[in-house]
C-alpha cells in the first residue's frame, strides 16, 4: 500500500514534464495532458483512499529513499500518508482538476497559455510533494517549488510592472518562511542527530525524552515552524502579501491564493502538531497569533472596496481561526474548516467578476440611502480611527518595508562607493587570507579561531547585500552572489573538518549555475548593448528562451532542488553547531537575501514593461 504513495508525486511530475515539451500553440494537447494527469491523480486517489479507509485508515510511511549519503550525513526522501495528507491531497487534486478544465477555456488565446499550464502543473507537483512528505527534507523540496511557482504565477503578466513588483514582494515573504524551515531543520538535526521523520514525531516517548533536556531547543524549533507557517498562511504580521498576490489570471488566484497555497502554513502546523503538542507556551503563542490575525484581517476585510482583496482578507481571518483550532488540538475541525474555506474562497474568486451585475442589481432593488449623523463622541472617534487603520491595512505593508527592507537597502547604499575592481581586490584578499588561515588553522589561537566562521559569514552577508542593492553592474551583482557562497563555505570550513566533497557538492552546483548566468549576460549584452539593473527591462518579450535559461541559472544558484546545491545547503547547515546561533542567523539571512538578489536580477532584466516600445506597453500603474 505504501508504494502507491509515490505515484501521487510521479503522476504530476510526469504531467508537468510532458507539458513542458509540447509546442506552445498546441493549446488542446497542453490542456489535455494537464487535466488528464489531474484526472488520473484524482481517480487514483479516490480508489486508494477507499481502500485505505476500509483498511482502518492506518498511518502509512514509505521509508527513506536515500539520495545522498556520507559517513555522518544522509539525505533521505520519505513519504507519509495519514488523515491530514488525505484531506489535503483530496482538496488540492479536486480543485486543481476543476481549475485546469476551467482554464482550458478561460485562458484560450491568451499569450502564455503554455506557461500558465506549466506553472500550474509545477505548483501542483510542489503541493503534492509537500503534503505527502514524510520528513522535513522532502517537505522542503515541495516548499521551494511552491515558492518559485507562486512567483511565476503572480508575475504571469510579466510585461506589466505591478505583477512583477508584487511577485517579488510575495517571494520575499516566502523566503522568510523558507528560512524558518531551514533553521528548524538545522536545529532538529542537532536535536535528533538524524533526519527525523514525521512518523517518529508521533512517538510521544521519543519526543518527550529528547525535549526533556533541551526544552529551549524545542521552543526554538517550534517558533521557527510557526514563523514559516505564519508567512505562508499570511498571518500577522505577514498578511499584506496575500491580496497582492492576486495579479495572475483569476483561476490561478482563486485556486492558489484563495485556497491551496495560503493553507500550507496550516498544513505545516498540523503536520508538526505532535512535536509541539506538549509545549504549552508555543500553543498559547499560536492561538494568540491566530486571534490577532483574525481580528485585524476581519476589520481590514470590512473596508476593502475591491472584490479580490476583500476575499483575501476574509480568508486570512478564517485561517487565523484555524490556527486557533489547531492550537486547541481540534485537528479534525481544523481540517474540515480548511476544506470548507478552500472551496468557498476558490468559488468566490472564480465568480468575482459576476459581483458587478449581481450587486448592482441588489442595489437597484434594495438601496437605502445612508443617513448622516453628525456627532463628535468618543465611540465615533474610535470608530473613525479603526476605519483609518483598516484602510491602511494596519500599516503591515509599510511595516515590512520600513523595518525589514529599508535597513538592508541602507546598508547596501553605504557600500555604493565600492566598484567592481575594489570588490575584486577585497574579495581576493579575504579569500587568500581565509584559505591561508584554514591551512594554518592549528596555529590560530582559539580566541580568534572561534570568531572566524562568523567573520567570514559576515563578509558573505555584506557581499550579498551589496549584490541586492547594486543598480548598475549586472555582472557585479551576479558575481557577488557567487562570492557570498564561497564565503559561506569558507566560514563553515572553520567549523568542522568534513570531506571536501561536501564543499564541492555545494559549490559545484553554484559554479555551473554561475557560468550559465554569465553566458546569458554575454548573449543579452551582445544583442542589447547595454544591460544594467536600474529599472525593469522586460527582455523576456523578445528573448523568452534566454529568460527561461537564465531563470534556471538563478534557481541553480539559489539552491533550488534542481541542483546539487540544494543538498549542499542542507549539508552546510548541519555543519553549523547548535551553539552557533549567530552563525546560523547570518547564514540564513544570507540565504534570504541571496534568493532575493537573484530574483531581482532576473526580474529587472527579463520582466516588467519592455524597454523597447515598438508594441503596446502598459502603464506603470496598471
Amino acid at each position: 500500500m505504501e508504494k502507491i504513495i509515490q505515484l501521487f508525486i510521479l503522476i504530476p511530475l510526469l504531467g508537468f514534464l510532458i507539458t513542458l515539451v509540447i509546442h506552445r500553440f498546441n493549446e488542446k494537447l497542453i490542456s489535455f495532458v494537464s487535466f488528464t494527469s489531474l484526472g488520473i491523480s484524482l481517480a487514483l486517489f479516490s480508489g486508494f483512499v477507499l481502500f485505505w479507509f476500509f483498511n482502518g485508515a492506518p498511518v502509512l510511511n514509505q521509508k527513506e529513499i536515500v539520495i545522498f549519503q556520507t559517513a555522518n550525513y544522509e539525505f533521505l526522501l520519505d513519504f507519509y500518508f495519514d488523515k491530514i495528507t488525505a484531506v489535503y491531497l483530496f482538496v488540492g487534486t479536486f480543485l486543481t482538476f476543476l481549475v485546469t478544465i476551467y482554464s482550458r477555456y478561460y485562458l484560450h488565446r491568451e499569450k502564455g497559455y503554455k506557461r500558465f499550464f506549466n506553472t500550474v502543473m509545477f505548483f501542483y507537483l510542489g503541493y503534492c510533494i509537500t503534503v505527502v512528505s514524510g520528513n522535513f527534507e522532502t517537505l522542503f523540496i515541495g516548499w521551494e517549488i511552491l515558492g518559485i511557482s507562486s512567483f511565476l504565477l503572480i508575475s504571469f503578466y510579466r510585461e506589466r510592472y505591478l505583477p512583477v513588483k508584487n511577485a517579488i514582494k510575495v517571494f520575499s515573504i516566502y523566503r522568510i518562511g523558507d528560512v524558518g524551515i531551514l533553521l528548524a531543520m538545522w536545529m532538529s538535526h542537532h536535536l535528533w542527530n538524524e533526519n527525523i521523520t514525521f512518523l517518529k514525531l508521533n512517538n510521544y516517548e521519543l519526543v518527550h525524552e529528547h525535549l526533556q533536556n533541551h526544552s529551549w531547543v524545542g521552543v526554538f524549533i517550534s517558533i521557527m515552524i510557526l514563523i514559516s507557517a505564519a508567512a505562508k498562511s499570511a498571518q500577522f504580521p505577514f498578511s499584506s502579501w496575500l491580496p497582492r498576490a492576486m495579479e495572475g489570471p483569476t483561476p490561478s488566484s482563486a485556486i492558489f491564493y484563495g485556497s491551496l497555497s495560503v493553507h500550507m502554513g496550516v498544513f505545516l502546523l498540523l503536520r508538526t502538531f505532535s512535536f509541539w503538542e506538549h509545549q504549552y507556551s508555543v500553543r498559547v503563542i499560536i492561538a494568540l497569533l491566530g486571534i490577532v490575525t483574525a481580528i485585524i484581517s476581519t476589520l481590514t476585510a470590512r473596508v476593502q472596496s475591491s472584490v479580490k482583496s476583500q476575499i483575501a482578507y476574509a480568508s486570512i481571518a478564517q485561517i487565523g481561526l484555524i490556527f486557533i483550532e489547531i492550537s486547541l488540538g481540534f485537528e479534525s475541525l481544523a481540517l474540515f474548516h480548511f476544506a470548507g474555506n478552500a472551496f468557498l474562497r476558490t468559488y468566490q474568486l472564480l465568480v468575482s467578476p459576476s459581483v458587478v451585475s449581481y450587486l448592482i442589481r441588489e442595489q437597484f432593488y434594495n438601496f437605502i440611502p445612508r443617513k448622516n449623523i453628525a456627532e463628535d463622541s468618543l465611540p465615533k472617534r474610535i470608530q473613525y480611527t479603526i476605519y483609518m487603520l483598516s484602510l491602511k491595512e494596519w500599516n503591515l505593508d509599510w511595516f515590512m518595508f520600513k523595518f525589514v527592507w529599508m535597513p538592508i537597502k541602507n546598508v547596501g547604499r553605504k557600500m555604493n562607493f565600492l566598484n567592481f575592481k575594489a570588490i575584486a581586490i577585497i574579495f581576493s584578499i579575504i579569500l587568500i587570507g581565509g584559505l591561508l588561515a584554514l591551512h594554518y588553522e592549528y596555529h590560530i589561537p582559539y580566541k580568534i579561531h572561534r570568531f572566524l566562521p562568523e567573520m567570514f559569514g559576515l563578509f558573505g552577508l555584506l557581499f550579498v547585500i551589496k549584490s541586492f542593492t547594486e543598480r548598475k553592474n549586472v555582472f557585479l551583482s551576479w558575481t557577488l552572489v557567487l562570492m557570498n557562497n564561497i564565503m559561506i563555505s569558507l566560514s563553515v570550513s572553520f567549523n568542522e573538518h568534513f570531506a571536501y566533497t561536501h564543499t564541492l557538492l555545494y559549490l559545484s552546483g553554484i559554479f555551473a549555475a554561475g557560468a550559465l548566468g554569465y553566458f546569458c549576460f554575454i548573449i543579452l549584452k551582445k544583442r542589447e548593448q547595454q544591460i544594467d539593473l536600474n529599472q525593469f527591462y522586460g527582455h523576456s518579450y523578445k528573448y523568452p528562451r534566454l529568460a527561461f535559461l537564465f531563470l534556471l541559472a538563478c534557481l541553480g544558484l539559489s539552491g533550488f532542488p534542481i541542483s546539487p546545491t540544494f543538498i549542499g545547503e542542507d549539508l552546510i547547515f548541519t555543519h553549523i553547531q547548535e551553539n552557533q546561533a549567530w552563525l546560523a542567523l547570518i547564514v540564513s539571512i544570507s540565504f534570504i537575501i541571496d534568493g532575493l538578489a537573484l530574483m531581482r536580477i532576473y526580474s529587472r532584466l527579463f520582466l516588467g514593461p519592455h524597454i523597447k516600445r515598438f508594441h503596446d506597453v502598459g502603464f506603470r500603474s496598471s
Binding site: 497582492r244 470590512r302 472551496f343 468557498l344 468566490q348 459576476s354 451585475s357 448592482i360
Partner: protein, 832 residues
C-alpha cells in the same frame, strides 16, 4: 493649454485636463465613445500624431503589422498603389512604395507626458508613484465604492476632501505621517497653487506637473472627472471633484517626501536641470508617420473598395412584391445584420428594417420594486417620460455565495464550513454542465414577460418628480409617425410587424453593459419594443395617423420582441392581444425565426474556435447557448468586433451582399424624404453611436494596454464602478482584449443613399455632426439612388469614386463558407 503660460490659472488648467482624461462611465452604464474624443477637433491623422506624441498612446497598428497584412493579401496592391499615387503623386509611387514595404525605421514610442514628474526618480532617487498610488487609489476607491465594502467610508455627504478633513479631525490616527501635511490640511492651506508651490515652486511648470501627475493614473482620474460631471452615474451618489482628488494627491506626495527626506528636500525648481518640452508644443511629422498613414488608408480602402464595388455590382431591384408576409424592425446594430439575412432567406415574402433599437421612444424605465430609474434611449438624450412596470409575476433569486456575511469572522466561520462545501459542488456543476444562475446577466430579466407597463398617459399631471408617467396620445402619434417615416414603412403593411429590441446574456462579465443595446444606454431594448408596439397598435393613434395620410390597416398588428444576441433566443410580448388570424401567422413566423436563430448562431460560431462549427445548426446553437452561462467563458459573444460599415438606405442596396456581420444597417427611403428632413435626424446619432463604437474598438485594438483594458483574466472589480489589475492597479478604461482581438482597426465607412447635396445639407445641420466627417473620423460615401453612382466626401465636397475592384465572387450556399475559416471574409455577392 496655452504654451509658455506664465500664470497658473487653476480653473482653466483643470477644465482642459478633464477634457483629455478618459470619459468612461462606471461599469453599469458602459457606453461606447470615441476614446480620443479630446482630439476630435483635429483631422484624424493629426489627432493620432498628437495623442501619440503627447500621451504615448500607440494609435495605429505597427509597421510590421501592415506589412504582414499586405503579404497576406488583406491589403490590396492596386489599392495601395492608388492611395500612394493620390497622396504622393504618381511620379513618387515607386519611391514611396519601397519605403512602405522595406525601409527600416526607428519606431521607438516616446511621449512628452511624465517627463517633468520623472525628476523625482532621476534627481531624488525617489519612487513617488510607488509611495503615493496605493493609498490614493484605496482611499478614492473606498470613497466611491458602490457596495463592495461592508464598512463604507464613514463620512460621505460633504465632498471628498471635506470628508477626509473630517476623518482626520475626528480620529486619533492619520492618513499622513507628516505633521506638516496634516497641518496644511487642517489649517485650510491646501489650495492647489499652495501645494504646488511647496512641491515645484515654479509657476510655469504647475500645469505640466498636474498633467504628468493625473496621467500617471488616468483611469482613476477619468472616473473622478466623469462622476463629477455626471453624479447620477452612481446609484449611491458621491460628491467628488477632480480638484479635491488632485489636492489629496498633492498632500500625499508632500507626505511621501517628508517621510523619506524629513525637512531636507527642495522643491523641484531648485534641482531641475533641463525643463522638459511643454506638452502641447507643435508636433513635427516624421516620415514614419506618413508611411503609417499611407498604410492605414490602404488597409481601410482595401475593404471599403470591395463594399462599394459590391453596391455597384449587386443586382438592383428585381421585383416589388406588394403583399408581405410580415415585417420586422431590428436594431441597426451590426450583430443584427446576419439574423436579418436568415429571416429574409427563410421567407422571401417578408421584409426587414433597421432602426436605432430604442425605436424612437425615449423614457426612463422603473421596474417593479426598483429603487431607481433606468434611462432607455441614447445616452445624450434626457427624456421627460417614465414607464413603470406593474403586476409582475416572477421572483428574484438570490445566491448566498455573494453574501457579505462570509467575509466577517464568525458568520464566515459557519459559512465556510457549510456553504463552502456546496460551492465545491456548484463549481463542479458549472464546469461540467453550465446553467443559468442568479448571477447570470440575462437580457430577459430586464423586464418580466408577463408584466404590464404604464404606457399611456391620461392625465398630464400624473408625474413622478419632473417625469411624466407615460405618453399622451399626441405624443405617441409624433413618435410612431417619425419612426415609420424614417425607415420608409408607410404603406403595404403586413398583418404582423415585429419590433425586435436586443440584449445580451453573460456571466462573470464585468463589461456586461457594453453588450446590450447602445441606443438604449447599454440596456436591452425589450421595453422600448413593447412601448412602441403599444403606441402603433393604439386605436386613437391610428385614427390621427390616418388623418395625416398614414393608414395602418386594422388587420395589422405590431408586436414587441427581444432578440438575445448572445444566446440567439427570442421572446415575444403581449402575444395574447393578437387577433386569431394573426396568432396563426405568428406561430408560422416563429418557425422561421427559430430556424434563423439556429443558423445565425452557427454563423457566429465560426469565430469561437472551441465550438465545432461543422455540426448541425441546432447542435451548434446548444453549444452557443452554453457559452453564455459558463463561468469560464470570457467571450460569451464577440459584440461589435469587426464593425466597419454603416449603411443608410433601402434594403436592396446590400440585400444581395454577404457583409459578414460588419455593418450597421439603417433603413431609409429617400423617396419619401426628398428634402432630407428625416435624414438629418438619422445622421445625427450615427457619429456618437456608431462612430463611437467603431473608434472605441479601433483604439482598444491598436493599443490594448494604454487605451484598452488589457486582458480581462486578471481583472479585479473595484467598488462596482471599474476594473483594475490586482488590488493596487489603476482603473482600466477601454475594452478588454477578449472583445477586440478579432477586430480590424479601420474607421467606419458611412454609405448613404441619397443625392450628395441633400446629404451635405444633412451633415451640416450641426457642427458636432459635421466634425465627424470633415475631420475624417468617419468616411462618408454617397450612393446616387438613381444610377448608384458613388461619390466620396473629401475636404467638404463630394467627389466621384470608381471602385478598383472589378468583380466579386458570388456565393449561394452559406454553410460551406461559414465552416471554412474563422478569419474575416472578403465581401461576396450573395444569391439570396
Amino acid at each position: 493649454m496655452k504654451n509658455n503660460q506664465l500664470n497658473f490659472n487653476e480653473h482653466e488648467v483643470l477644465h482642459e485636463l478633464k477634457h483629455y482624461l478618459p470619459a468612461q462611465a462606471p461599469l453599469k452604464d458602459f457606453i461606447h465613445h470615441n476614446t480620443l474624443h479630446a482630439f476630435q477637433h483635429l483631422k484624424f491623422y493629426d489627432a493620432l500624431k498628437n495623442a501619440s506624441e503627447i500621451f504615448g498612446y500607440k494609435t495605429t497598428l505597427s509597421l510590421n503589422d501592415y506589412r504582414v497584412l499586405y503579404s497576406n493579401g488583406r491589403i490590396n496592391n492596386t489599392v495601395l498603389d492608388k492611395v500612394i499615387s493620390d497622396k504622393k503623386g504618381i511620379s513618387n509611387l515607386v519611391e514611396w512604395k519601397l519605403k512602405l514595404l522595406q525601409q527600416n525605421y526607428d519606431y521607438a514610442l516616446d511621449s512628452r507626458i511624465g517627463k517633468l514628474k520623472a525628476n523625482w526618480k532621476n534627481l531624488y532617487k525617489f519612487d513617488m508613484d510607488a509611495m503615493v498610488h496605493p493609498m490614493l487609489f484605496r482611499t478614492v476607491g473606498s470613497y466611491l465604492d458602490q457596495g463592495i465594502a461592508i464598512w463604507n467610508f464613514p463620512i460621505h455627504h460633504k465632498g471628498f476632501l471635506s470628508s477626509i478633513l473630517e476623518l482626520e479631525r475626528m480620529s486619533y490616527g492619520s492618513i499622513f505621517n507628516s505633521k506638516r501635511v496634516k497641518k496644511l490640511l487642517l489649517n485650510n492651506e491646501h489650495s492647489i497653487a499652495n501645494l504646488l508651490n511647496i512641491l515645484i515652486g515654479d509657476e510655469t511648470l504647475y500645469a505640466q506637473y498636474l498633467y504628468d501627475q493625473q496621467f500617471a493614473h488616468q483611469g482613476w482620474s477619468g472616473m473622478v472627472s466623469f462622476v463629477e460631471d455626471n453624479p447620477k452615474a452612481l446609484l449611491d451618489p458621491k460628491d467628488i471633484s477632480l480638484h479635491d482628488f488632485i489636492v489629496f494627491e498633492l498632500l500625499l506626495e508632500i507626505n511621501a517626501l517628508d517621510n523619506q527626506f524629513g525637512n531636507h528636500w527642495k522643491p523641484l525648481k531648485e534641482t531641475i536641470k533641463t525643463i522638459p518640452i511643454p506638452l502641447f508644443e507643435p508636433i513635427k511629422t516624421t516620415e514614419l508617420k506618413e508611411v503609417i498613414m499611407l498604410w492605414q488608408d490602404s488597409f481601410e480602402w482595401s475593404y471599403y473598395d470591395q463594399v462599394l464595388a459590391g453596391i455597384k455590382l449587386s443586382k438592383s431591384k428585381i421585383e416589388v412584391k406588394t403583399s408581405k408576409s410580415f415585417q420586422a424592425l431590428f436594431c441597426i446594430d451590426d450583430r443584427e445584420c446576419s439574423i436579418r439575412r436568415y429571416v429574409e432567406h427563410n421567407d422571401e415574402n417578408c421584409e426587414t428594417f433597421g432602426t436605432p433599437g430604442f425605436f424612437g421612444v425615449e423614457f426612463y424605465y422603473s421596474p417593479k420594486n426598483g429603487k431607481f430609474h433606468t434611462k432607455l434611449c441614447p445616452a445624450p438624450v434626457n427624456p421627460k417620460y417614465l414607464i413603470r412596470e406593474i403586476n409582475t409575476k416572477g421572483n428574484k433569486d438570490n445566491d448566498a455565495h455573494y453574501s457579505k456575511h462570509s467575509h466577517s469572522l464568525l458568520s464566515g466561520w459557519i459559512i465556510s464550513q457549510t456553504l463552502g462545501f456546496s460551492s465545491a459542488f456548484k463549481l463542479a456543476i458549472n464546469i461540467f454542465k453550465p446553467t443559468m444562475s442568479p448571477a447570470t446577466t440575462s437580457s430577459f430579466k430586464h423586464m418580466d414577460k408577463f408584466s404590464q407597463l404604464t404606457i399611456e398617459n391620461r392625465n398630464v399631471n400624473q408625474k413622478e418628480g419632473d417625469l411624466q408617467v407615460g405618453f399622451t396620445v399626441d405624443e405617441m402619434v409624433v413618435r410612431v409617425d417619425a419612426l415609420l417615416h424614417s425607415i420608409g414603412l408607410i404603406e403595404n403593411f403586413a398583418p404582423l410587424v415585429y419590433l425586435f429590441g436586443h440584449g445580451a446574456s453573460s456571466i462573470n462579465n464585468t463589461h456586461y453593459a457594453g453588450y446590450d443595446c447602445g441606443a438604449c444606454s447599454g440596456r436591452p431594448g425589450s421595453v422600448n419594443a413593447r412601448v412602441m408596439s403599444f403606441m402603433a397598435n393604439h386605436k386613437k393613434v391610428r385614427e390621427i395617423l390616418a388623418l395625416k395620410g398614414l393608414v395602418i390597416p386594422e388587420t395589422t398588428q405590431f408586436i414587441g420582441a427581444l432578440h438575445d444576441t448572445t444566446r440567439d433566443e427570442m421572446e415575444f410580448y403581449d402575444e395574447d392581444l393578437l387577433q386569431e388570424k394573426n396568432k396563426e401567422l405568428h406561430e408560422q413566423n416563429k418557425l422561421n425565426f427559430n430556424k434563423a436563430l439556429h443558423e445565425n448562431s452557427k454563423e457566429r460560431s465560426r469565430r469561437f474556435i472551441l465550438t465545432n462549427t461543422k455540426q448541425k445548426a441546432e447542435k451548434v446553437h446548444e453549444d452557443v447557448k452554453l457559452r453564455s452561462v459558463s463561468l469560464f467563458e470570457p467571450r460569451p459573444e464577440l459584440n461589435h468586433a469587426t464593425n466597419a460599415l454603416c449603411i443608410v438606405g433601402q434594403r436592396d442596396l446590400t440585400k444581395n451582399m454577404f457583409l459578414d456581420r460588419r455593418s450597421f444597417l439603417n433603413s431609409y427611403d429617400y423617396r419619401i424624404d426628398l428634402e432630407g428632413k428625416y435624414l438629418t435626424n438619422i445622421l445625427k446619432p450615427i457619429g456618437p453611436v456608431c462612430g463611437g463604437i467603431n473608434l472605441e474598438y479601433y483604439f482598444s485594438r491598436v493599443d490594448n494596454q494604454k487605451l484598452g483594458a488589457g486582458t480581462k483574466l486578471p481583472h479585479n472589480v473595484m467598488g462596482l464602478i471599474g476594473v483594475a489589475n490586482g488590488i493596487d492597479g489603476d482603473l482600466r478604461p477601454g475594452l478588454p482584449s477578449q472583445m477586440i482581438e478579432v477586430h480590424d482597426p479601420i474607421r467606419l465607412l458611412l454609405i448613404v443613399e441619397h443625392f450628395p447635396e441633400i446629404i451635405l445639407k444633412a451633415i451640416n445641420d450641426s457642427p458636432e455632426t459635421y466634425q465627424w466627417y470633415i475631420n475624417e473620423w468617419i468616411h462618408l460615401v454617397s450612393v446616387n439612388p438613381i444610377d448608384r453612382k458613388l461619390q466620396i466626401f473629401k475636404e467638404g465636397v463630394f467627389v466621384n469614386y470608381k471602385p478598383q475592384t472589378e468583380e466579386l465572387k458570388t456565393i449561394s450556399e452559406l454553410n460551406t463558407l461559414i465552416e471554412s475559416t474563422e478569419e474575416n471574409f472578403p465581401v461576396y455577392l450573395y444569391n439570396n
